[in-house]
């Protein structure tokens, strides 16, 4: 899980397996965004779920959102080696201009 965790969580799995990672956030947010950061690159948005949605799918990705518990999850089905990355959830920073507060990240290593 992200947030409230001091250590970066790391998961090692085999190609083809499914993986789910969780994040909890502290304050109201209009959207929860999930970003993927590959080695040597900046984060890239992979899926966004709005506060009025409970589930969002995009290809092999599935995001859920529970606003009552202020938590979100990201699932990847049928992982590929190319899914190896650090995954971050992000919420509004209340800056009015949509800066982000990132979670602590989950490192996912997928072996071929």
């Amino acid at each position: 899980s992200q947030w409230g965790e001091e250590n970066l969580q790391a998961l090692s799995i085999q190609e083809g397996e499914d993986v789910t990672m969780n994040c909890s956030y502290k304050t109201y947010t209009t959207v929860v965004q999930w970003y993927r950061q590959k080695s040597g690159k900046g984060p890239a948005l992979i899926i966004l779920i709005r506060s009025n949605e409970r589930e969002k799918r995009s290809g092999r990705l599935r995001a859920t959102l529970d606003t009552s518990s202020q938590s979100s999850s990201l699932s990847i089905t049928g992982t590929l080696a190319t899914d190896t990355a650090v995954y971050f959830c992000a919420t509004d920073a209340n800056q009015g201009g949509r800066a982000l507060i990132f979670g602590t990240g989950t490192t996912v290593s997928v072996s071929p």
């Binding site: 959207v31 900046g42 984060p43 948005l45 966004l48 920073a93 201009g97 800066a99 982000l100 507060i101």
Partner: protein
């Protein structure tokens, strides 16, 4: 497509000196640019949010006196780290937003090493 470039990619400076980093948006209008610092442990700190024609909003623990930002047009932003010390080390990322969209487009970052 939307691309964000950052340069330099890596820089080393002596303790107490300053360095400037740049962020360039290509293919879209960067109405807002957020600057972040990422630690070696991958955690992010939001430094500030800059919106064209608006005041720059700095997060707690970050000041304009230490991290002055310029955002003169819809494609360019720069930030300077003044009087850099060891605690300023990290990967500095800019995330650019356009209009009312939520998605931020990130550059690859400028890695700052302070000796």
């Amino acid at each position: 497509g939307a691309l964000v470039y950052q340069y330099p990619r890596r820089t080393i400076c002596k303790s107490g000196t300053s360095m400037r980093m740049e962020c360039q948006a290509v293919g879209f209008q960067a109405t807002s640019v957020a600057w972040y610092r990422q630690s070696p442990q991958k955690t992010f700190e939001l430094i500030a949010l800059s919106t064209v024609n608006s005041a720059i909003k700095y997060e707690q623990n970050f000041t304009q006196e230490k991290f002055p930002i310029s955002h003169p047009n819809l494609s360019f932003s720069s930030m300077t780290v003044l009087n850099a010390y060891l605690e300023d080390r990290g990967l500095y990322l800019c995330g650019a937003l356009t209009g009312g969209n939520y998605e931020q487009y990130f550059g690859p970052g400028t890695r700052l090493t302070v000796l």
